[in-house]
């Protein structure tokens, strides 16, 4: 009878600060997130010690995949009013006597890199899904007979003379393909360009380190 019961209280945690923090972080991440459309092929870039960041816009990227396919990408400009991609596509279209509907152009603007002969572009843009598009990506022809990479570079430069160029190759791509791409760039008087790499630290043999 003399036992005293201790009242068991459910501990109540005030979650308000936590929720506040969550939302703060959430807003931060939403605002900083940049959505990049999926690339045409997975590319594992080699490592280098270079620390220069890649330019934000006005950049032509030439991708070389592991199986030596070449893809092309040009960004749409610093803001959505430039429509560089749309202009380049229309120029290519008029060169190949293909006319693109506004819907197709819009679709093209939203995509990232692509790699297919220009004649297939219309089918590519009307492809029902990502899978069908992927199947069409057989690489841009870069042989001397039908060098469409040159054409893309030229048309991209027509609308923007201030472009910088980046070559984003897979570490396992074969050098002859890379050499061909570099030769195309040189033929177009692009002698200064960037190779996209991942960062690694430089190690120097001990007798060359200055104390």
């Amino acid at each position: 009878m003399g036992k005293i019961k201790i009242a068991v209280k459910t501990p109540r945690i005030d979650m308000t600060p936590m929720v506040d923090l969550f939302f703060l972080l959430l807003v931060f991440f939403i605002l900083t997130a940049t959505f990049r459309p999926e690339e045409a092929a997975p590319i594992k870039t080699p490592m280098s010690t270079s620390q220069t960041p890649i330019p934000d816009s006005h950049l032509v990227t030439i991708l070389i995949s592991k199986d030596d396919k070449v893809f092309f990408n040009v960004d749409n400009g610093t803001d959505s009013t430039e429509h560089i991609r749309a202009k380049v596509l229309q120029a290519i279209g008029s060169n190949y006597k293909i006319s693109f509907t506004p819907k197709e152009i819009k679709k093209f603007e939203g995509l990232a890199s692509f790699g297919l002969p220009a004649v297939k572009l219309k089918d590519f843009l009307n492809a029902p899904d990502q899978k069908a598009r992927e199947a069409m990506q057989i690489g841009i022809p870069i042989d001397s007979l039908d060098n469409q990479l040159t054409m893309w570079i030229r048309f991209a430069r027509t609308y923007n003379n201030d472009l910088s160029f980046a070559v984003k190759g897979d570490g396992d791509a074969n050098y002859p393909t890379v050499k061909k791409v570099l030769a195309v760039l040189q033929d177009n008087n692009v002698n200064k360009f960037n190779l996209t790499t991942d960062l690694k630290a430089a190690e120097i043999p001990s007798d060359f380190i200055i104390k």
């Binding site: 997130a33 960041p53 070389i64 984003k168 190779l195 960062l199 043999p205 060359f208």
Partner: protein, 218 residues
């Protein structure tokens, strides 16, 4: 949790007051959702932008224009071969004279990097000294003026090697990036990518026949 508990009014004068409940919102689902989205955005955000390595290739020589003469004592030829192997020799391979001996190195810090550093010691040391002075604070320079100084050092270089990078068959893109990166690490002022010539091809073939695997060296 935000909770407002209102005291119920006492019944007065027979008036019936509607019983008021404390507004108590269960925030758990909202917190769950916020947490989920937060995780998603955190994982998808790529903070580190890819880096780029700038390279400048010489302009293509115009027709009937002679390529510039090369001081053959300064010419250091690096031939990349399959399986990440690196061969090098100094001078020019003249088929009418005795062919230079190929040396083999690898891509480690004691490998080709050491060879390049030894040959480029003067330039490397002056740039490294400047960089050290900047880090210790002895020298106050902006990032741009450091770059400018490095360029001037490069330009004034009269003794360092002129590196000719050549690739034999079976070379991967990775090897090219590695070797260009070596040039940057060791501050080589002059280097370029050139095609391998037939004499070097036979030299490489003979070398690989004699040394089929990497373990055969040293």
């Amino acid at each position: 949790m935000a909770e407002i508990v209102q005291e119920e009014g006492h019944k007065k004068g027979g008036k019936r007051k509607v019983k008021k409940h404390g507004t108590h919102i269960d925030m758990t689902p909202m917190v769950d959702l916020a947490c989920l989205l937060l995780t998603f955005f955190m994982l998808t955000t790529a903070f580190n932008k890819p880096k780029v390595m700038e390279i400048n290739l010489p302009e293509k020589p115009k027709e009937n224009e002679k390529p510039p003469e090369l001081d053959k004592n300064r010419a250091l030829n690096i031939i990349l071969v399959q399986n990440d192997r690196v061969l090098w020799y100094v001078g020019l391979a003249d088929p009418n004279k005795t062919l230079p001996v190929l040396n083999e190195e690898n891509f480690s810090k004691e490998g080709i990097r050491k060879v390049l550093l030894e040959r480029n010691k003067a330039l490397y040391m002056s740039i490294a000294t400047m960089n050290r002075d900047v880090t210790v604070g002895k020298l106050k320079l902006s990032r741009d003026s450091i770059e400018g100084r490095v360029k001037r050092f490069y330009h004034a270089d009269k003794v360092g090697p002129i590196v000719l990078i050549k690739a034999a068959d079976g070379v991967k893109y990775r090897n090219i990036v590695d070797i260009i990166d070596e040039m940057a690490i060791t501050n080589i002022a002059r280097y370029t990518l050139v095609d391998i010539n037939p004499v070097e091809k036979t030299m490489v073939q003979a070398y690989l026949a004699a040394h089929p695997s990497v373990t055969a060296i040293k």
